[in-house]
């Protein structure tokens, strides 16, 4: 495989859920390995749907009409199953309340490891929990944790599989400011270690502070993209799209 193939490439992708009109319209872009990409856009603009394309949930699990092609490190998502792509692309879903389904934090992490027959020893799990700031939480019931902690458990379950790309859908949506900051600094560390981070985020302050590049979705199309600073300079367009201008003093 040549290095040109590496990364996530979308070629003229459109998608419509069964029976309804197109939710994503002719999207083309590529995400290079090592990027910290932010995706912004108002509610219903298709951000979550876009994330489902990145590990093959569309077209393998979610029904609808897909046009175009999504390539992950040179392989089209239509060619292999979700389990194959999930090893490369880790997903943290939007609602932390719905994201855990095991009795203990340890089992939550072991679930993925077992599916891929990866070592699930105590040291490994302790190390991962430490990485997300949840030392000593292995035996806790995920349902009893706070939103921020649940989100970290989901992230830990993903990190355990050591994916090159990590996708998060509105991770700060139900978190308080402090937990969000903690989560983003974990993401920054992962990015420094070489992980590609793709984060859907409505709070543009976090994107301004952490993302290298930003894409703005509107009604299923990418209407703005580029380096974070350049995108957020387009104040008039952003205002028209109803996207908050980040508070730059925080930088």
């Amino acid at each position: 495989m040549t290095s040109i193939d590496m990364g996530i490439i979308l070629k003229n992708v459109s998608f419509a859920y069964g029976g309804s009109e197109k939710v994503l319209k002719d999207i083309s872009f590529s995400i290079l390995p090592g990027t910290f990409l932010g995706i912004a856009g108002s509610n219903g603009s298709g951000k979550s749907t876009l994330t489902y394309l990145l590990n093959g949930l569309i077209p393998h699990f979610i029904e609808g009409k897909l046009e175009g092609e999504v390539m992950i490190d040179g392989i089209a998502t239509s060619q292999k199953n979700v389990a194959y792509f999930s090893r490369k692309v880790g997903m943290v879903f939007q609602n932390p309340d719905f994201s855990t389904f095991n009795l203990t934090v340890r089992e939550e992490i072991q679930f993925g490891l077992r599916n891929y027959h990866i070592d699930e020893g105590k040291e490994k799990i302790d190390r991962i929990l430490q990485q997300v700031g949840l030392e000593g939480y292995a035996d806790r019931d995920p349902q009893s944790l706070s939103f921020g902690q649940k989100q970290k458990v989901s992230l830990a379950a993903v990190i355990a599989l050591d994916p090159a790309y990590i996708v998060l859908d509105e991770p700060s949506a139900m978190l308080d400011y402090r937990s969000s900051c903690e989560l983003y600094s974990i993401l920054r560390n992962l990015n420094k270690k070489g992980n590609t981070i793709i984060v859907v985020e409505h709070d543009t302050d976090f994107l301004y502070q952490f993302a290298e590049e930003v894409k703005v979705l509107n009604e299923g199309s990418v209407v703005l993209e580029g380096k974070t600073r350049d995108v957020f300079r387009k104040v008039r367009i952003l205002n028209k799209l109803g996207i908050k201008i980040p508070n730059k003093r925080k930088k």
């Binding site: 949930l57 699990f61 979700v82 999930s86 879903f93 719905f98 994201s99 679930f111 993925g112 077992r114």
Partner: protein, 192 residues
């Protein structure tokens, strides 16, 4: 004992107890099974959660009794009532048994014990079983939300009472099971 052995043991106990309860006609045995399960569940979960589980069984009780008294014409009245009672005790025991099992078994555990089944069936069963405790929590939330918006649950009409709870509940359960399936797949659970 390693975790898979414990998981298998739990499922084994569940199956054995189910068979035992389903084939038992002794009211004393059934009553004591209910009593033990209740004590265990109250200890494990909480009184309110268990009460919540028992409430629908009250309707079932009335229903079964009505059928036995008015629709069943075999045998004397006392025999029919006895049969109805034992059927109801059985259902209640099984319902509590399922609650106890799902309260102590996680999705990944259930999935591992069922690993001899085809992946698709395994996925379905796993999600269904793991949803049982969730369903009761969700129903409770919806019930409280309806009440806080002035919905009158004191009226005696059972159908009218349950309808506004069942519809949003179904919606949430479907949404939730889809979410769990998506997450399981995203963590490498292969259904092929």
């Amino acid at each position: 004992m390693d975790s898979i052995t414990i998981a298998r043991l739990k499922l084994f106990v569940l199956v054995m107890m189910t068979v035992f309860i389903a084939s038992s006609h002794n009211l004393y045995v059934l009553s004591s099974a209910i009593f033990i399960l209740l004590a265990y569940l109250v200890f494990l979960l909480s009184g309110t959660q268990v009460l919540y589980r028992l409430k629908p069984m009250l309707y079932v009780f009335i229903l079964i009794l009505a059928i036995q008294i008015f629709l069943n014409s075999h045998g004397s009245l006392s025999i029919r009532i006895f049969q109805g009672l034992s059927a109801w005790l059985k259902l209640t025991t099984l319902s509590l048994l399922m609650l106890a099992y799902t309260a102590v078994s996680s999705v990944s555990e259930i999935a591992r014990v069922l690993s001899f089944l085809p992946r698709k069936i395994q996925l379905m069963l796993t999600i269904t079983l793991s949803l049982i405790p969730v369903i009761f929590k969700e129903a409770q939330k919806i019930y409280m939300a309806q009440n806080s918006r002035g919905y009158n649950t004191k009226s005696l009409n059972m159908i009218k009472n349950t309808f506004p709870i069942v519809i949003p509940l179904l919606h949430r359960i479907l949404h939730r099971s889809e979410q769990i399936a998506m997450i399981m797949q995203s963590r490498g659970f292969n259904d092929e």
